[in-house]
Amino acid sequence: MSQPLLELRGINKSFGVVHVLHDVDFAVYPGQVTALVGDNGAGKSTLVKIIAGIYGRDTGDYYFDGQPVEVHGPRDVAALGVEVVYQDLALCDNLDIVQNMFLGREQLRRGTLDEPDMESRARETLTSLSVRTVNSVRQTVASLSGGQRQTVAIAKAVLWNSKIVLLDEPTAALGVAQTRQVLDLVRRLADRGLGVVLISHNMTDVFEVADRITALYLGRVAADVPAKDLTHGQVVELITAGRSGELGISENPATASV
């Protein structure tokens, strides 16, 4: 297997007395979709926020392209080419698609906004992702459906030649057809060579697009295996019980002496 693009080793994180992550190892490979699954409170969000640089980590190492890197904040992570699309998308309803995609990074020419350049690049990115559902790049985000908003948020993350995109529950609020569009887009991102992390509760979605599945159970990695080696039922067991047959945490951490 190729070298991981992003790798976290032995991550521990506590909030006060609550030990949220125990020696978590996590890897993202280029051109692959890695699904991060786990029950509520398993530590998915915490892990994503550590990757995004929003939280610091107590112990553990952060490797990018095989090199250890120091990450002190979201800007460092963005500079590495890691973009996070949060569940609430963070789009401005009153602005159009182009304006949203360039929000905070507007291109200037002679001190004024370079609208032609921004519009061309936004359209180019949407085209390269084969987004065919948007009527016009100059319509406001308020007029878009949930799936289209998700698409815009993902395109915004891809616009900056990012290498890794983390998607937090991208299909949670979507209907069947829109989920289809977003999953197709997720697959295309990976086919372009990006490392994609998909955080999801929906097993159907996970098995549809994921190459690898990393299951968290009570802050520990229960399994990190190729998706084709797992069945639907095994993943559910890993999520709910932390183990499934040979796989999983050998000792139940809930009852283990700490």
């Binding site: 309803d93 507007e106 061309s120 065919r132």
Partner: protein, 428 residues
């Protein structure tokens, strides 16, 4: 990365049922198509300044029948001069309203600045440029304090500016004295309200503005066409230029007619105040549509959390909006003082601020933030000025004036709230 293929909708013929648009439709077909799209937008609740323009027409027709003097040249020029301070104050409120905040103290803050200018000239013998700069500094400082209290401390702007509304009235009372007033007679400043522009200069200036607008519009259109960007039909661009030319040149030609009752002393030309208003309108249109700062104002007003995550310094944007507002308010206060010739402790209190808020909202700036243009404030200001001017001519008791203006403000806010609901329903 074949952008060009987008220009031909469905060129490949591979259409899927739901997602029937390939890339996006670059061509808006025709003027008729653009008009239909506009009607659809209005029906969806995105009315812009349409209600204000319709209201202005209705008011103009009503007052021209109700009063014999309303349509005289003299009165309409007077109306423009009356509208000046309201328009400028409303223009200043736009950045604050875009953030979904309010500045109730703007009128009083503006007159406080004007008072500072008046005192500098009368009591300290300073020249008018020094006095003007002093007034602007007062405005910036007041705006900075309000902005910091709102953005850093997180006090609702309603409360902070209400406190300043009361406090600054006290400050003015202290400096001017009960029942007193500060003369505002320095010529260059007073002339803003009294003197007119030379008719020829006015006409040339208007022609230059129209020509510049036409040039910029056509250049933008050409860039959009050559780079395959989305663009309006050429006929719409030309129509916009035509409307702008008719309105601006018509106004100037109208103002260039002699409106004096005394044949020996002709009064003709555009009131100088209109130049100040025009310049500020152009400045704010540029800031709001062409600069990064303007874009960030809309972004923070639309979704502050999204703006923060995009790396925009929300606190700084908030603070700066209040500074911009009070600075504009000071300019408005100077114009008002030039118009009345004095500053009294009550200047800028009372109706001034409500007129300005009303003007901005009537023009189509949303009280909920994120939506509004500079020109909206001007159109709204004209509506308010027409109401006060017209009712004044009808010799109505002043209670009617207050009731009508209050009613119009309420009406505008209702239109804003309803159109917001329709927008969220129609998703425009």
């Amino acid at each position: 990365m074949t952008v060009e293929t987008n220009d031909q909708p469905d060129a490949g013929g591979a259409t899927t049922a739901v997602s029937a648009f390939s890339g996006d439709a670059v061509h808006t077909v025709s003027l008729g198509g653009a008009f239909q799209a506009y009607v659809a937008r209005v029906r969806g609740g995105d009315m812009g300044s349409l209600p204000a323009i319709l209201g202005l027409v209705v008011l103009m027709i009503f007052f021209s029948f109700a009063s014999d003097t309303f349509t005289t040249n003299l009165n309409l020029a007077n109306l423009v001069t009356q509208a000046g301070p309201i328009c400028v104050l409303a223009l200043g409120l736009v950045p604050v309203l875009l953030l979904g905040e309010i500045d109730l103290s703007a009128g009083v803050a503006g007159s406080t600045g004007a008072m500072a200018a008046g005192l500098l000239m009368v009591d300290h013998g300073q020249s008018w440029p020094v006095a003007t700069v002093g007034a602007l500094v007062v405005g910036i400082v007041i705006g900075l304090v309000i902005g910091l209290l709102v953005a850093r401390l997180g006090i609702p702007s309603f409360v902070v500016t209400l406190a300043f509304f009361l406090g600054l009235q006290g400050v003015m009372l202290k400096f001017i004295g009960q029942g007193g007033s500060v003369r505002f007679s320095d010529q260059p400043l007073r002339d803003l309200a009294i003197k007119n522009l030379d008719p020829v200069v006015g006409l040339v200036g208007a022609a230059v503005i129209v020509a510049a607008f036409a040039l910029l519009s056509l250049r933008t259109y050409r860039t959009q066409v050559t780079q395959g960007l989305q663009h309006p039909p050429l006929s719409l661009v030309l129509l916009r230029i035509g409307v702008m030319a008719v309105v601006l040149l018509g106004l100037v030609l109208f103002m260039n007619q002699n409106r004096s009752r005394n044949p020996n002393f002709p009064i003709e030309g555009v009131p100088r105040m209109l130049i100040v208003v025009m310049a500020l309108l152009i400045l704010w249109t540029f800031i709001l549509t062409r600069t990064r700062y303007g874009r960030h104002l809309y972004a923070v007003g639309g979704n502050a959390e999204a703006a923060r995550r995009a790396g925009i310094n929300v606190t700084r944007i908030r603070t700066s909006a209040f500074i911009a507002c009070t600075t504009m308010a000071v300019i408005s206060g100077l114009l008002l003082a030039a118009n009345t010739g004095k500053i009294s402790p009550g200047s800028g209190g009372g109706n001034t601020l409500l007129y300005a808020v009303g003007a901005a909202v009537i023009g189509g700036t949303s009280l909920f933030g994120g939506k509004g243009r500079a020109i909206d404030a001007i159109v709204g200001g004209l509506v308010i000025a027409t109401i006060t001017n017209g009712l004044g001519l009808l010799n109505q008791a002043s209670w009617i004036n207050s009731v009508v203006t209050g009613g119009v403000l309420l009406l505008a806010a209702s239109v804003d709230a309803i159109s917001r609901r329709r927008r969220s329903a129609a998703g425009v």
